[in-house]
């Protein structure tokens, strides 16, 4: 909080490992957006909850990527919010999709903790939060 007043420059979130993280976020933004777009366009009635959730996930991946790439104070806030929601989402949907199959008759990016995507959706927000924590001030 309020690290803008500290003498240290914040380490940019869009350099080094951060750029790799952004690349993965972009990949997931593409995956989730196309999946949601296609599902909503072709068969929305089958599983509206799942498809709207896919769309929400897509939006979060896009905003998180932008937040990390912008790397300013606001960008960090935005990325922090996105990663938190994302982590809550993947955990919540993971539990719900196992507990109540009928709620999610079709797969979403976050179903079964993202098992359809090699559990990357579960790891990604953790890495994002870790990266934001690591870059909160200049360690060098």
């Amino acid at each position: 909080m309020a690290d803008t007043t500290s003498g240290h420059e914040q380490r940019a979130t869009n350099r080094g490992p951060g750029r790799l993280l952004i690349a993965v976020y972009i990949l997931f933004a593409i995956a989730a957006t196309s999946r949601a777009g296609l599902q909503i366009a072709t068969r929305f009635d089958e599983a509206p909850v799942a498809y709207l959730l896919s769309a929400l996930a897509a939006l979060i991946y896009i905003v998180a990527a932008v937040g990390l790439a912008r790397a300013g104070h606001t960008g960090r806030r935005v990325a922090l919010a996105c990663c938190t929601v994302e982590l809550a989402g993947v955990l919540g949907v993971g539990v719900l999709s196992i507990a109540d199959r009928e709620l999610f008759p079709d797969e979403t990016v976050w179903s079964d903790f993202g098992s359809g995507y090699g559990y990357v959706p579960l790891v990604l927000p953790v890495l994002g939060l870790f990266w934001l924590w690591r870059t909160r001030r200049d360690p060098a």
Partner: protein
């Protein structure tokens, strides 16, 4: 390609499931391994990675042309929407890796090339699956 004009066989020859796709997948995995070694050794993306990405893109564009020729010949994918989505994504991946790797001339640039070259074969396989699934 082999049996000329539309064979109209039910499980007909998929235009995206031939040697070309295999070559693209092998190139992609090779570049991924090379980039991983570079990342582990703290090396920025080197010439081989960029050449590899370019060759991969050429292979993917050739695959796209093959698919478009098949479409022109009357063949249809099992899931057209998903098929075109995957096709467009596929040809965009190597350029994405290229641009991001240029922006990041550190070991992490190699990491980006590695990550995207690992995703590319997955997208290629999904592309093949969306062709094969017969409408219904």
């Amino acid at each position: 390609m082999n049996d000329t004009v539309s064979t109209t066989s039910a499980a007909g020859a998929s235009p995206v499931d031939g040697p070309l796709a295999t070559v693209a997948i092998v190139i992609s995995l090779a570049v991924a391994v090379w980039a991983l070694v570079a990342a582990v050794r703290h090396r920025p993306p080197d010439r081989i990675q960029f050449v590899g990405l370019a060759v991969l893109e050429v292979a993917l564009l050739a695959l796209t042309v093959t698919a478009l020729v098949a479409l022109g010949g009357g063949d249809r994918p099992g899931e057209p929407g998903a098929f075109f989505g995957y096709l467009v994504t596929l040809v965009c991946l190597p350029p994405l890796a290229w641009v991001l790797a240029r922006m990041e001339p550190t070991r992490w640039g190699s990491g980006i090339v590695c990550a995207i070259c690992l995703v590319t074969p997955v997208v290629a396989v999904r592309l093949q699956q969306t062709w094969d699934i017969l409408g219904g």
